[in-house]
């Protein structure tokens, strides 16, 4: 008896019937297995040590040649820059940077871009990036490597990272004297954080393309010079020339990661130069050693997934991933006190310069793009990782709950179970009503699904419509009001539109399938987001039940409450609330709630702007995928049923499918 060639006549199998009675237990086992598998990954037996796959990189094969004179140059440039900063409190000293690049013999260009901010009546912002290209002596500008340093004006609220620019320039001066470069080196100074980087990348790759000027929010302009296909990029954020440790940041847009080889390369070279460096590195004295290895690993994994799940890059490197360029940020942190200073102040930055040189020379060796090692991994420890094949089963087990439940529900649906007998024997005996009671109302369920999807679609489209943008209202209140209005419609929908008998069960099956598919797709594109959504929502999905069962009303109320809490908007608020509480524990509760509300409103607006400018899909996922799913979930949790007498009357009226879009109409017909 094979899977495909089961010769039994009945399609009902005892196994399925038996399992169907224990859907919840089966699903709970799967859920627990998935979560347990994820926890197990933190154990050393379940993850692997990192290694370099790409032989061409050969890190540390050459002696670093950069000497203390480069460090002296950096110090001198930093002093000059500090003087410039006093004159440019809120702008970038473009002239000074360009002059220095010219002086070092780089092919220097400026890049102008414009941001048309859509909200609040619309405003225009202008920005300027400076970049210098060092043409490789050994190749005809077909490939390039980018070294970038973001510049922050003195008035910026973020940490001062102005020493990055002198460090970059000092390295450029050193690199210009060497003749072994096989790839063009681009030294880029961007402003306005990620916006400048995004504009530069768009201009580099699509600058010659004609954009629809009326629609594009970011007009990147074009670049006067390019350096071929970019192979890799290194973003440098240095707080001070005297550094304590280096934090290597890898999470990019939509949770994309650079090739693991790139991370390993940086780790190897940093270790060789004796710099304390690592993924999510923290100052030494704060690190406690009392925690077990399992706990530190788990914390590290969760921290990484948390950063990835928002899809917002944690450095300028993240935007490169969109263009298939492997990139990461080395964020060097300032030494807190000078008491522990070991080296001389005059050569403090030499190790970092040496590391940058080592990385540059390894990247210079690349024969083709990074492709050898993993692109999907979770870093457990600085030298241990989990590959996609090991962590995917956790998500698959969670998603399998939905599919298993859908299958078992489908095979016990009234029409598939008893449809055969009813069709033949009872059609003659009873009236048509009895038989049709078990015809599944595909049409109405389909219309209901379309209506919910339409609500989600509107969430994505409405806030950017011209007539909404012209309202003199900030981005945050506008987005929030549109979102809450639409979720309110979703909240009311099940009260107004009641599906015909059998509709709820069918809707349930359809919901489980759509939910499973969406989770798989989200999980493939951004594992962290998919996994967290699954962990949060699968319990509700398992608990949902549409059967008429009056005896267990407490459970039913609990499910409704849970469904209400798991509204995407509510979850965003709770997350923001938790973060506010964590950041400002001293505030009274009322103030925290209020502050979290404004922060959540801002977050939704930022989400929308991110999706428009950078292509972050978090907003899309929440509004267009998760919100409709929630509406269906809420409908199922309420499981409103129409009375049987009502239904007969309804069937007699010509329009047999309820119209979710015009609830009043549907109501008139039923009553």
């Amino acid at each position: 008896m094979g899977l495909l060639s089961d010769p039994s006549i009945s399609t009902q199998s005892k196994l399925v019937d038996g399992l169907a009675r224990h859907v919840r237990k089966v699903c709970t086992v799967l859920y627990v297995a998935g979560v347990a598998w994820f926890f197990c990954l933190a154990l050393p037996e379940f993850n692997h040590g990192t290694y370099l796959s790409e032989n061409a990189l050969s890190p540390g094969l050459v002696y670093p040649e950069i000497r203390v004179d480069a460090n002296r140059l950096a110090i001198q440039l930093l002093e000059e820059l500090q003087r410039e900063r006093k004159d440019h409190l809120s702008t970038t000293p473009h002239a000074w940077i360009a002059a220095k690049m010219n002086e070092f013999g780089l092919e220097t260009h400026t890049h102008n871009y414009t941001l048309r901010y859509p909200f609040g009546g619309g405003k225009e912002y202008h920005g300027k990036n400076i970049y210098g290209i060092l043409r490789a002596p050994r190749i005809a500008s077909t490939e390039g490597i980018v070294f970038t340093a973001p510049y922050r004006a003195a008035s910026s609220v973020h940490t001062d990272i102005s020493p990055s620019v002198p460090l970059l320039l000092a390295f450029a001066d050193f690199a210009r004297r060497k003749n072994y470069w096989a790839k063009d080196l681009i030294f880029l100074v961007t402003e306005q954080e990620q916006l400048g980087m995004q504009a530069w990348l768009e201009a580099y790759h699509d600058g010659d393309r004609d954009l629809d000027v009326s629609k594009a929010y970011l007009r990147p302009g074009n670049l006067p010079a390019r350096a071929g296909s970019l192979q890799a990029a290194l973003n440098i954020e240095v707080q001070d020339l005297e550094i304590d440790y280096v934090d290597v940041r890898i999470e990019g847009l939509n949770g994309k990661l650079p090739n693991l080889d790139m991370f390993n390369l940086v780790q190897r070279i940093m270790a060789r130069e004796g710099i304390a460096s690592g993924y999510k590195q923290t100052p030494r004295k704060k690190r406690r050693h009392s925690k077990s290895l399992f706990e530190t690993n788990l914390r590290q994994m969760l921290a990484m997934l948390a950063t990835q799940s928002s899809g917002v890059p944690n450095g300028n490197h993240g935007l490169f991933h969109r263009y298939r360029i492997d990139a990461l940020t080395i964020a060097a942190h300032r030494r807190a006190t000078h008491a522990t200073l070991k080296g001389q102040p005059g050569s403090a930055a030499v190790p970092l310069l040496k590391a940058i040189e080592g990385i540059a020379r390894s990247l210079n060796n690349l024969l083709e793009r990074f492709h050898q090692s993993f692109f999907f991994y979770v870093i457990v420890n600085n030298d241990r990782y989990i590959s996609i094949g090991d962590y995917m089963p956790a998500l698959v087990a969670l998603v399998a709950c939905a599919f298993v439940k859908a299958y078992l529900m489908w095979s016990t649906l009234p029409s598939t179970e008893a449809g055969g007998e009813l069709d033949t024997e009872e059609r003659d005996a009873d009236t048509d009503v009895e038989a049709e009671k078990f015809e599944l109302p595909y049409g109405s369920v389909l219309i209901y699904l379309t209506a919910t999807l339409l609500i989600g679609f509107l969430c994505n489209v409405l806030p950017l419509q011209q007539y909404f943008l012209e309202i003199p209202m900030g981005a945050a209140p506008l987005t929030t009001s549109v979102l809450s209005f639409l979720s309110l419609i979703g909240f009311i929908l099940p009260f107004v539109v009641v599906l015909p008998p059998g509709g709820l069960e069918l809707l349930h099956v359809a919901f489980l399938l759509i939910y499973g598919c969406s989770l798989i797709v989200i999980g493939l594109l951004n594992f962290a987001l998919g996994f967290f959504v699954a962990v949060l929502t699968v319990p509700l999905v398992i608990a949902l039940e549409t059967k008429e069962d009056t005896s267990r009303s407490t459970l039913r109320h609990a499910i409704r409450l849970l469904a209400l809490i798991l509204n995407p908007m509510m979850i965003v608020y709770v997350i923001v609330l938790a973060m506010t509480f964590y950041q400002f524990p001293e505030l009274p509760l009322q103030k925290i709630l209020l502050r979290a509300a404004t922060a959540a409103m801002d977050a939704s607006a930022y989400g929308l702007i991110d999706s428009v400018l950078y292509g972050n899909f978090l907003y899309f996922v929440i509004s267009t995928v998760l919100l409709p799913l929630w509406i269906i979930c809420w409908t199922l949790a309420l499981s409103k049923r129409r009375d049987y007498a009502d239904y007969v009357e309804f069937e007699e009226s010509p329009a047999s499918s309820p119209q979710p879009q015009s609830p009043s109409q549907a109501k008139v017909k039923t009553s």
């Binding site: 039994s8 399609t11 990661l257 991933h321 095979s411 797709v521 594109l525």
Partner: protein, 426 residues
């Protein structure tokens, strides 16, 4: 031919027209799941342009459409390019109408056959027999399944030449059911010269028209060969060169373009060592054509239309350049076997398979081609699962048919010594 039929046709046309005006149309035209090297709209445009400029389109490696189609459509492509979507929509709606007429006729034939066999049927099998309502229900289901299946809708708005293939296949089936030998032969010959695989459909044709006489069968086969040669010669006349044979049939047989698609060929032929290529080419092409032909023809000799359905489906799974438009076509034929559905155990599993793999294909293609982080193996995994789902569906249909035939004559519930009997395959 009632009002509902025309309403459905109109609605199907409107849906297609609406989507052909959205940005989706251009996107679908570039998706590998719909547009293969064989059927893509861009290549058709290229071919027509080359033809008009007096260059042999088959000297390059871009155009794989037959010269007859190219020259027939060149006027439309050159002079009225804005009418092209409407043209493809009309073709697709026409296909749906043909399928509707075909299924009406088919159900009527089945009912006639049923009345003659009625006395042999077992008692409790009313639900397995074609009822009076089926005359209306089944054709309606067929037309709905063709017109509103997202796969066929997208195939149509992507303006792939699969729309034309589907039209030919539908008219073949129509003529087959209607019993028109010559049109049937001509359509089949035309489609065979275009895309090679329909050659297997000669089997149902022979079963229908030969009436168990070997001589008639031979004559029909000869006629088919003659019409194939005739069609090929007509194609030859367009350009006065035989280059097109290598550009169309040769391109299909030798599988020259390794662009990924939803089929099984591309991955194997990218990975395999070059000196095994000939062997595997023959194996794969045999698998797609004659391997299942003989056993299925023997088993289904009384049901030529089911044989045609299964062959079309198998062809879609195993052909060199399959597209989702082909899948949509054979899915529309499934309602013809509504009376077997009771025995189809894997319907839900197959549906889930289709849903999951199709949504995964989009994500994995994005990760592979745009994000550069996944690779060919991920995408092939999804397409392999998709093909597995299709094979599940086909075997399920075959088994359901066999079980229905058995139950129709022996009854659904068989009791042996007071225990419900189970059938065991041995």
């Amino acid at each position: 031919m009632d009002a509902k039929f025309f309403k459905l046709l109109l609605l199907g046309g409107v849906v297609r027209f609406y989507f052909s005006r959205t940005p989706l149309a251009a996107m679908i035209g570039n998706r590998v799941e719909f547009a293969t090297p064989l059927n893509s709209h861009k290549r058709m445009q290229e071919g027509i342009f080359l033809l008009q400029s007096g260059i042999d389109p088959y000297q390059g490696d871009l155009v794989h459409e037959t010269p007859l189609i190219l020259s027939a459509l060149s006027g439309l492509f050159q002079k009225y390019p804005h009418l092209l979507p409407a043209f493809y929509i009309i073709l697709d709606v026409f296909t749906a109408a043909l399928l509707y007429l075909m299924s009406r006729r088919f159900v009527r034939q089945k009912q006639e056959q049923q009345t003659t066999e009625q006395k042999h049927y077992a008692k409790d099998t009313a639900e397995l027999q074609f009822s009076d309502l089926d005359k209306y229900d089944i054709p309606e289901l067929v037309i709905v399944a063709y017109l509103f299946n997202p796969l066929t809708v997208m195939n149509c708005i992507g303006m792939t030449s699969t729309v034309i293939s589907n039209l030919f296949l539908a008219s073949f089936l129509y003529c087959l059911v209607k019993g028109l030998l010559l049109p049937c032969l001509l359509v089949l010959a035309f489609e065979t010269v275009r895309s090679f695989y329909p050659i297997v459909l000669i089997a149902p044709l022979l079963l229908v028209f030969s009436h168990n006489s070997i001589r008639r069968g031979l004559v029909i086969t000869l006629l088919f060969i003659a019409s194939c040669l005739g069609v090929a010669y007509a194609n030859f006349l367009v350009l006065n060169s035989w280059n097109f044979l290598d550009g169309t049939l040769g391109f299909i047989f030798y599988f020259r373009d390794l662009q990924p698609n939803i089929g099984l060929f591309w991955y194997f032929f990218t990975e395999m060592f070059e000196h095994f290529r000939t062997m595997f080419l023959i194996t794969f092409q045999l698998n797609a054509t004659v391997l299942y032909l003989l056993p299925l023809s023997i088993k289904l000799r009384k049901e030529p239309l089911l044989l045609a359905t299964v062959l079309v489906a198998l062809m879609t799974v195993f052909r060199a350049y399959p597209s989702l438009g082909d899948v949509g076509f054979y899915l529309a034929l499934l309602p013809l076997w509504k009376r077997c559905w009771k025995f189809m155990a894997h319907g839900f599993v197959v549906f889930t398979f289709f849903l999951v793999t199709l949504s995964m294909m989009g994500a994995l293609w994005h990760l592979w081609i745009y994000a550069g982080s996944a690779n060919a193996n991920f995408y092939f995994g999804a397409t392999l699962a998709f093909s597995t789902g299709q094979i599940f569906l086909i075997t399920d249909l075959l088994f359901a048919h066999v079980k229905r035939e058995f139950c129709l004559f022996k009854g659904q519930k068989i009791w042996i010594d007071g225990v419900e009997a189970r059938i065991v395959l041995k």
